[in-house]
Subunit: 145 residues, 2 copies
DNA sequence: ATGAGTGCAAAGGCTTTGCATTAGG
DNA sequence: CCTAATGCAAAGCCTTTGCACTCAT
């Protein structure tokens, strides 16, 4: 997806929720789009000091509601945020349990396929309607090993 | 593992860290052992009002350090805690994105095996030493659907 | 007896909210 | 113009910490 296409789609999702794609929201999305891994609030504020903390929180919550942003939960103290997978690509996270670093990783297609079919049926057997899965690989990064 | 065996093993891990297996810690472990899903602090305090909040936090942190308890991170506001997998069994979580309910689930052995081998090599390719994986199934529970 | 563990209350730290100001349509 | 959005400051809420008391060895 091109960057203009990206912003067009995001603008659409916001308008559908009667929300505007303002300058600040655009800046926020641009930051997440550039980053190779999920960002937390200190990351975001230092990357763009013009952004106000409270607005960042509010806008991330809004963007999450309309399906543009996903909140990534780590063992870190701060929550991390990334663009939704349908705007980027399906991936998982390598999380360093020592320093909290997060890397994006992609699994082989055949493995993902086994996951999908298995998980949907397992969820169904428990009365759940599956919407997504979240797989995190926890370990030590090269620097902390 | 029998319940006496369980407490014996836990006592050993605590002593190895120069910690005592006190009455309060025993009560806490017993609660987690009985529960069919990870518990958060309000759960724990209402299940056993004799427990002091600060001690529960301190003891859960200690038990996590010595590998007896695992902190489960959900989208919930409170952290949840369960006994470590080597004291119970390897499993995953079905998390309701609406009400925050968490159910334990087990995947077929062959699927788990594919996971293990694939994930270790993927992590290694990124310079990570894998210690565990965390797979959560997100969706709507029967009640919220 | 003596240090670890506990419990109450207060402080920390991430996140959310109130409110006056600014900006988008 | 007029409401939504923003930014600063203050409040909330989960969690951690200080400190005196209690318990275990």
């Amino acid at each position: 997806m091109s960057t203009t296409e990206l912003h067009r789609v995001i603008g659409g999702r916001l308008r559908q929720a009667d929300q505007r794609y303002t300058y600040r929201r655009h800046q926020l999305v641009e930051l997440l789009y550039q980053a190779p891994h999920p960002m937390h609030i200190p990351d975001i504020l230092s990357a763009n000091p013009a952004l106000a903390q409270s607005s960042v929180y509010r806008n991330l919550a809004l963007l999450e509601q309309v399906g543009v942003v996903r909140r990534v939960i780590t063992s870190d103290q701060h929550a991390r945020y990334e663009l939704a997978e349908d705007l980027t690509h399906h991936h998982h996270h390598l999380i360093c349990t020592s320093c909290g670093a997060v890397h994006d990783v992609v699994l082989p297609d055949d493995v993902e396929h086994v996951f999908d079919t298995t998980l949907v049926s397992v969820a169904a057997a428990n009365g759940f309607t599956l919407s997504q899965h979240r797989l995190d690989l926890l370990g030590l990064c090269a620097g902390c090993r």
